[in-house]
């Protein structure tokens, strides 16, 4: 297994580049998973309010106490510069000044010039506090008009405004099922990008190295059977691809918090088939023996191009019909289509999922046949170029 061992040594040299892609992918997946979890929860936000009570009456103190119940009261020095600094550095969200004469004006039903404030323009806290104070004053005024005394009007207002509604976040139904949620499907949706990047970075480069003209010449001169040589290359490439795929599948299970069950296995199979397709693509590209910088460009074009065209980075529902029609000629389209069905983002059909698998495998077979064709043409053209060179000399 000399070739296999040499191949593993070369793969080991290339591994750090592939690991960068995988690590970045995993980190982004963790961030996305955490972010999507927060979307499902609702909690009341409290503001940091500082109140400067210049009226200092029972009515103004009642208002200050009530603000303290539904927000956090921050205490800062009553100095313009200090207040502005505190707002700027977000130590407080709003500075309320209860103007002198507040109680008298309230009792008289006057609503003008009751308050002053320091705040940052266009902040949500301004809108929130503005609405709150309007509601408070309107309510107190209403109770007073009803003939209630001021202290009772205030307590009734507080009671009214203390009522709150339970809020549950309802998400738009994007699909998903008990074993394969939309978040989990998102992880598998991005997987093609990472598979292309990682497999191309390593396998293409290793195959180009192993099949370099001079090295292959020397190997062909040896007593190693060429079929054994090819077999060892296949084993080496296959082992790497399966290792990368398996690692991504395991990471997926860890991020999801449970082992694959039910429908999720379809996604695992889908990703494995796509790994086979990517391997065939890598073998095809390597048959052209591109230089390292050209190979990097090809890797980026294929991975990013397919990701944008086939619904990996942008959901398929957002893509235009024209783009989707073109994407049908790319294997990633069928991967994403199957993934969407498995996640119930589009209606699930077992037959159609299998059809997507088969189309992907068809791409793999076609790429292998093309590789054989390219190798044959290259061999013939090499003979022709030798012919031309010799003809010139002989003339």
């Amino acid at each position: 297994m000399q070739v296999f061992k040499a191949m593993l040594r070369i793969i080991r040299k290339r591994l750090p580049s592939a690991m960068i892609y995988i690590v970045v992918f995993v980190v982004i997946s963790i961030l996305v998973t955490n972010a999507s979890t927060k979307d499902n929860k609702f909690e009341v936000t409290k503001l940091d309010i500082c109140v400067f009570d210049e009226d200092d009456t029972p009515e103004s103190r009642a208002l200050t106490d009530f603000i303290g119940k539904i927000n956090d009261i921050a205490e800062i020095e009553n100095n313009r510069d200090v207040i502005i600094d505190s707002l700027y550095y977000k130590r407080v969200n709003y500075a309320l000044i209860i103007n002198k004469g507040y109680a008298e004006k309230l009792a008289a039903g006057e609503t003008a010039d009751l308050f002053g404030s320091y705040h940052l323009d266009e902040s949500y806290s301004v809108v929130y506090m503005g609405q709150f104070l309007d509601e408070y004053i309107t309510s107190v005024t209403a109770y007073l008009t009803m003939g209630k005394p001021i202290d009772e009007a205030i307590s009734c207002t507080e009671e009214t405004l203390s009522q709150h509604t339970d809020v549950d976040m309802l998400r738009v139904d994007k699909g998903g099922n008990s074993h394969y949620s939309v978040d989990f499907a998102g992880y598998f949706q991005y997987m093609p990008y990472i598979l292309i990047a990682a497999i191309f970075t390593v396998i293409c480069q290793v195959l180009v190295t192993m099949n370099k003209k001079d090295i292959r010449y020397r190997t062909n001169c040896s007593c190693m059977d060429s079929s054994k040589y090819t077999f060892q290359l296949i084993i080496g490439s296959g082992l790497f691809v399966i290792a990368v795929w398996f690692m991504l599948v395991i990471i997926g299970a860890v991020l999801n918090g449970e082992m694959y069950m039910g429908r999720a296995w379809y996604a695992v199979i889908n990703s494995f088939i796509f790994s086979v397709v990517v391997t065939a693509m890598a073998v095809f590209v390597s048959s052209f023996e591109p230089k390292e910088n050209v190979l990097n460009i090809i890797t980026q074009v294929l991975s990013i191009g397919m990701s944008f065209l086939c619904g990996i980075f942008i959901p398929m529902e957002v893509l235009s019909d024209g783009v989707l029609s073109a994407a049908r000629f790319l294997p990633a389209y069928w991967y994403v289509r199957a993934n969407n069905m498995i996640a119930d983002i589009t209606p699930f059909s077992f037959n159609e999922v299998v059809q997507c698998y088969l189309i992907q495998l068809g791409f793999a077979v076609a790429l292998i046949l093309l590789t054989l064709l390219v190798r044959k043409v290259k061999y013939n053209s090499a003979a022709i170029s030798t012919n031309v060179k010799k003809a010139v000399v002989s003339d």
Binding site: Q2, K5, A6, I215, Y217, N387, K390, V393
Partner: protein, 316 residues
Amino acid sequence: MENTVVKIQDLVKRYGDLIALDHFSLEIKEGEIFGLLGPNGSGKTTTINCLLSLLSFDKGRIEIFGKEMTPVSYDIKKDIGIIMQNVAVFDELTVYENIDYFCGLYIKDKNKRKKCIDDAVKFVGLEDFVKFYPKKLSGGLLRRLNIACGIAHKPKLIILDEPTVAVDPQSRNRILEGIQELNKNGATIIYTSHYMEEVEQICTRISIMDKGKKVAEGTKDELKRMIKNTETIIIELLELPDKAYREIASLPHVYDSKFENGKLSVYCSGGKHNLTRVLEVLQKNELGFGRVYTELPTLNDVFLEITGTALRDKED
């Protein structure tokens, strides 16, 4: 009687209408350093490729170690080592790993292989560089690694295809000495080159190729005897009157002469005391002269006379 290691009979290789090898035959005996000499495109590499079964051929037969050579003659291939013009090693593997890889294509046994690798490393003098990657090696050291990869499995037949192209003189000498040492250790060598000085220096027998045909074969002395020229006398003169020139041209054994840029060249074929006779003519005509020296024929002269073209001209 010496054993025949390589026997090529009536080999024909065509590329479309072009005949790359035209009824080419060759026999190489055990222990020889056999030189295949010819300009670029003369068919040397095609011969080697056919010999190694890397190219199919239209007609003929190739035998190595007395057995017919085919693409699946792995029992023959295990005793052949190849060293090419281009350095064929992995940049990703160290010196030791590279030799181990290529040696491992021939030798499965780990202990036996280790000994072979150590011997090869010692032979090429890379003991201090075994953990180095090829990119860290100088051009000369890379060539030595290339040789080590080709000979580590101790082949009985070593084929060197222009191994000194673009190599500095010091490294070239080391390579040539190494080839002679390999030969002393029992290996039969096939050495292809268009550098006639190298072939002349190390080869025990030489075959000259041109346009896919063998134009001459023999030891260097045998080849030189095939041509008319045996000696060229060169004399630096300020002037040479026509009378004296005609007198020199008519001397016995002189078959050609020329006077260009103050340099008289007299071409002789056989005979003795040719130089004395030419100097006597100069003295008789009271002509002063500067440097006087003679040149013996080279393989280039052999090639020139047989094909009508100089080897160097062909390369250009």
